[in-house]
Amino acid sequence: MINALPPAVIMILGGLLVPLFKGRAKQALLLLLPVISFINLLQLPHGSHWVYPFLGDQIILARVDKLSLIFGYIFHLVAFLSALYALHVKDNVQNVAGTVYAGAAIGAVFAGDMFTLFVFWEMLTISATFLILARRTERALGAGFRYFMVHVAGGLCLLAGIIMHVSQTGSAAFDLIGLGTTASWFIFVGIGVNCAWPFLHPWLTDAYPEATITGTIFLSAFTTKTAIYALARAFPGTEELIFIGGAMAAFPIFYAVIENDLRRVLAYSLINQVGFMVVGIGIGTALSINGAVAHAFNDLLFKGLLFMTMGAVMYRTGKINATDLGGLYKSMPWTCGFCIVGAASISAFPLFSGFVSKSMVMEAAAHGDMRWLWFILLFASAGVFHHAGIKIPFFAFFSHDSGIRCKEAPRHMLLAMGISAILCILIGCFPQYLYSMLPYATDYQPYSISHVLAQSQLLVFSALAFTLLLLAGIYPAEIRSVNVDADWIYRKGGHQIYRFCKWAFNGINDWADRIFVQQFTKLLAQFFEEPGGNLQKYGYRLWVEGCGIPDDQEHVGKKIDSRSRTAAYPVGVGVLLAVMILALASLLLYLR
């Protein structure tokens, strides 16, 4: 038995204790939790731990191997950096949600069975929703609600898949599944929602820019990367992922070029980067999966760094739209510098972290002779430099002087950004340490003259294109606007469905009310006031019209009325009705 706790326990339980502390003690706790949790993780040997029987199967709280460990390490590192960045936040909702969210992600990557995975998967959704709602604006409320609905739907899809899978195979172990059965498709799509696949993606670009400044740092890290881990575990080498990943790498860059909200630009480029990872998992060779995992590792750092710099800008200026910003390099030189490091890393400049991982996926695609895919990924590489590498720093820190003068970012933010930036450069310069942690042994060499030269040419000529387009005035001016994306389907489409339902169902309701409640009951009431008399009157009228004999309705009607008023019938009406019902019943019985 090992003297350690299950990997997620410290972050989740510790996170729940945070509101009991105040001031410095709370800050210390928030910083210490990831550190203690990380030390705890180091105690765990490879293998499955905390295995308990459950519903005739077993749950495994910690499955420790190279794939889960590398995600575990980077999640702890990012949890620490995010906590450091968010050190000024006194709001308990955010403190708890952020810590529990990181803990849930750690729990999910170490889950050895699908039930445990599902529990942590849902915990991710709930805690992330609070990070969005904590902004406490009307837009954040709407975005948080949509985020929650989409992820609950995705979670249910996953759960349905898990239940089918377990009942078919009799095993809940979370290992290679592969596409084939209906159950596997449900699990596949359930993971795909969290992975922000095309058309399932708008929760990401909708919600992340609406979350709190520090909440977005947490959000950008865990949900999509947990999904990448799950895909790498359950669906490596699934060909569909190559198409999905290719689309993910390509389409967001178009949106990113015309988007005004700089955090939303980063959200689009997040999908673009995750696309590279999905492709890597889809190709399924040792090189490509290594590339996908390494890129996830690096992306957590440089995307976190970029979101941090934009968060710092937002924290100091209160603005995030490119139309409102510019010239901030004078006020926030350090943040500007860190932003450029993040931009160089995401653009895969040589000596920066993106270079040593993205190229693995590219090379794996080339080895597999996937030409169209290779061209798309190369296009996406040039594009990401264009929008994340140049656009973000240029419009925030340079461009026209917006006249905003503010203080440099607070010290703890600078520290978090500084550590991230240094790590981006260190990984870029000494990639062998990252490579040694990857799931498959590799002797990959990113730094060949050809490769460095090729990448430099690609990027510098992209920069040239940006410059010339900007000087020529062709580069699209930033415009305050909303760009419609696939969330239109449920944001506007939802209204349309609502309107249609209102029209259709309320219409049926009105009609039913008019016919049955008002007219039919009125007629019935009139009829049963004098059932015998009315029956005779209608019968007489029918007879008169049917036989064509001279009409004497008025006279006959009066006679019927007076007879029924005085009840001068040979047989009581009640008896007559009873006899009729009996006759009907016996007829029915006879027919049977």
């Binding site: 709407g142 860059i253 178009f254 949106y255 070029v257 015309i258 010239g327 390099y329 004078k330 090379e363 080339a366 080895h367 030409r371 290779w374 190369l378 296009f379 040039a382 594009g383 264009h386 340079f398 002087d401 003068r405 060949s448 003259i449 050809s450 030269l453 090729a454 990448q455 430099s456 040419q457 690609l458 990027l459 510098v460 000529f461 992209s462 920069a463 040239l464 294109a465 940006f466 410059t467 387009l469 062709i474 580069y475 699209p476 415009i479 305050r480 606007s481 909303v482 760009n483 419609v484 994306d485 944001r491 506007k492």
Partner: protein, 89 residues
């Protein structure tokens, strides 16, 4: 003018001087020419045959970005751009 005005704000930034912007541009253009001319002397190795042809990455990078911007501006934007309060009603 009050004496509380922060004097550091009055210092012109590095890119307030047009000659500095020009210097950056010249540096970029120099890089462009240098990187392209290396292709004349150094034969790149790649997995695909076209990777080693002269200026492939340079041309692809440039053309890709121009196409990206043109499509985003003239195709995507007219299709998807709405007023800021589009979703608010």
């Amino acid at each position: 003018m009050s004496k509380h005005t922060i004097s550091t704000d009055e210092k012109p930034g590095m890119f307030d001087k047009p000659q500095n912007v020009k210097r950056v541009l010249y540096a970029l253009f120099t890089c462009v020419v240098l990187l392209l001319s290396i292709d004349l002397f150094y034969h790149k190795h790649g997995i695909f045959t076209w990777e080693s042809s002269f200026g492939f990455y340079s041309v692809y990078g440039f053309v890709a970005c121009v196409i990206l911007v043109i499509i985003a501006k003239y195709v995507l934007r007219p299709l998807v751009m709405r007023k800021e309060d589009y979703y608010n009603d």
